[in-house]
Amino acid sequence: MKRRQLLVAAIGLAAASPLALAQSFAGKTVTIIVGYKPGGGYDATARLLARHLPKHIPGGPTVIVQNMPGANSVIAANHMYNVAKADGLTIGTFNRNLPIAQLTRVEGVKFDMNKFAWIGSAANESTILAIRSDLPYMTFEELRHAKEPVVIGSTGPGANTHDFPLLLKDLVGLNFKIVSGYSSSADIMLAVERKEVDGRAGSYTSLRPFIDRKLVRPIVRARSTEPGIDQLPVDENFAPTPRAKAIMALRSTPELIARPYVMPPGTPAEIVKAMRDAFARAIQDPQLIAEGKKSKMELEFTSGEQAQKVLHDVFSQPKDIVEEFSKYIKFGE
């Protein structure tokens, strides 16, 4: 008798859960906090999602975006960790390199990436290095044996425009001269046209228009890949030592969670699951895909569980690798 009552109660609870969730979201406003000012990639992705999430979250709440820029989104992450309430109404998105910031003990970090309630990542990113088309180097091997230094423009430490070629130079020994201080990656492209620099590294998405225009040609990529650059050699494969390889791998790991979305630590498990489902469905929504295509945004959902595995890879690095890593890579953009 008792067991059957328990069974009924359990079934009743299970059936009531979606309803309970729908009630908890109905009529409410979900806020996505973006760690950057309006206009950038993280912001654009968040706004695209905000327009299509309401249909996929039970209860159909309003979804708005708020910007909380500062300190390369450390401020937003701190807010999400310490201040935001864990009631499912606040989502945060920030710099994908924040796990590295935490790993290398950057001052001011007041969060623990592992303790966030991870929804997942809305996109992947792949970093490539591209050089001006009129240079004689067609393959990575040829670039490696370049007699003249190849000038690479970058915006500053912490950005993939800087870090990716830096590791190629310092670990693989390529003959690069890295010139940094450009105000944006677009300025670097202008410098490429001017022949002031010979190439730049960056996300495939941002370099694509220039590759299509035949201004630059891609030479090498990091481990994360997408159609169009599959055939490029991977930088890690040229690492001379396992330690060098581990460092390069560590740099590119965050690219697998390129647009991270989290909720504050302690958010109830059903809410997290509901959000993960909502995100997964929204990202496959044909309307979102169509809108995304127009602005050249390709979203791809990586679930929270997967994201946490990636985090595990980052944080399980041995201490000496982390120390060596910090010598090359500084947290910045």
């Binding site: 309006p38 820029p69 300190a71 401020i75 430490p157 910045g332």
Partner: protein
Amino acid sequence: MLDALWEGLLLILQWKPFAFMLVGVLVGFWVGLLPGIGGATTLALMLPFIYTMQPVEAFAFLLGMHSVVATTGDITSILFGVPGEATTAAIILDGHAMAKRGEAGRALGAALTASLIGALIGAAALALAVPIVRPLVLTFGSPELFMLAIVGLAFIASLSAQGARGMVRGFLAGGLGLLLAMVGQDPQAGVGRFTLDTLYLWQGLDLVPVLVGLFAIPEIIDLAVRGTSIAGDVPTGHIRRGALEGVKDVFRHPFLTVRCALIGTFIGITPGLGGAVAQWMAYGHATQSARNAEERKGFGAGDVRGVIGPGAACNSKEGGALIPTIAFGVPGSTSMAILLGGFFLLGLVPGPDMLTKHLSLTFSLVWTIVLANLITVAVCVLLLNHLAGLTNVAGHRLIPAILVLVFIGSFTSNSNYADLVVTLVFGAVGYLMVLAGWPRAPLVLGLVLGKIAENYLYISVARYGAGWLTRPVVLVLLAIAVAVVCYPVIQAWRGRHRAKHA
């Protein structure tokens, strides 16, 4: 090319794009007027609306909005002494001074007319530059941009009072600005400089809270002290009739207007200098047009030339900034970067195609700027009386409203209370500077140009070794910088010489 020009006009005159342009103008009108809502942010927020539009319509909307912001930003600056936009701060110096003398109408009339002419010149530059834009932009490499920043800094000399003591104070203000520009993470070594161990200062000082504090707070304090309306005891009728006078003023100084518009266009074309510089260089140049020491002292007290210069430069820079954006896909300012997003959204690729295949679309952009500005100026002229009338409202009614706008305007930079602290600190600094007779313009110049100068210097040296100093354009710019610094010194010497032999 001429038929593309004509086609562009026809494209914008169809009813749908025209309607969208009007909506854009309406939005831009308020965005410029209110401090705290920046043109760039609003553009970003408006982007989603253009998903379903055709390219011509979308750009009519975006550009219609964007072209108007600088013009209405001038209005807030003149009437209340609060920078409506980061790019309209320079006009406060003389514009608001005129408002305080009861000449708000005249200042507004001059500002609007100068803005219109500036916009027309900028648009014309955009149209004419089409064939030569690529070689033009490509000539300006990092060494040239560094030198250009030095030319900008040289204007500190013009903005200072005359005499050795005046120069020292001017350069003290400029040096302070330069030092403040160093705050933040440096792009060479990644060191956090002068961050006082706070996260807020990691990315440096934001321009808007500083400007708002530096300019608006002293004005508010002064208004409270005076106890009257902004215009003092000047009768209302007098204020309103001044508008036509202001328009005539612009035509009394045609060459100054055109020169400042060209300065603005030029700054706009060179990507990497940022939008805030043009107005200050134009203002500095306007002060150089003073023929003797007496006239020089008039600047800052309400010389209409101090309104015309920045007014023209601000608007012309927008036309100029479109050039590298369209021709290269390299944005000349934050707003342009967002506009670029609009390009991609619509499936357009900025680059040589825009100057060949889509030339009529490019020209429709030019016409949008022209028409949007014409409409805005017309609307402002109609509203001018009411706008100028605001300077007759009792000060204690305006102060709470202005202060609220100041606080919100500053806060919305980073949504951080530290923004307010910055505004208050610079409010104190600005007040002290005004009390001590130090010029504030050099501080802004230093703040805006500091990082640019440093970055481009490092790039130039890293890339070219010592060779960059001998590039022809660099030498020309160096000569200009020296001339700009020496000009006020020579003027002062000649003034004394003339007085001696009088």
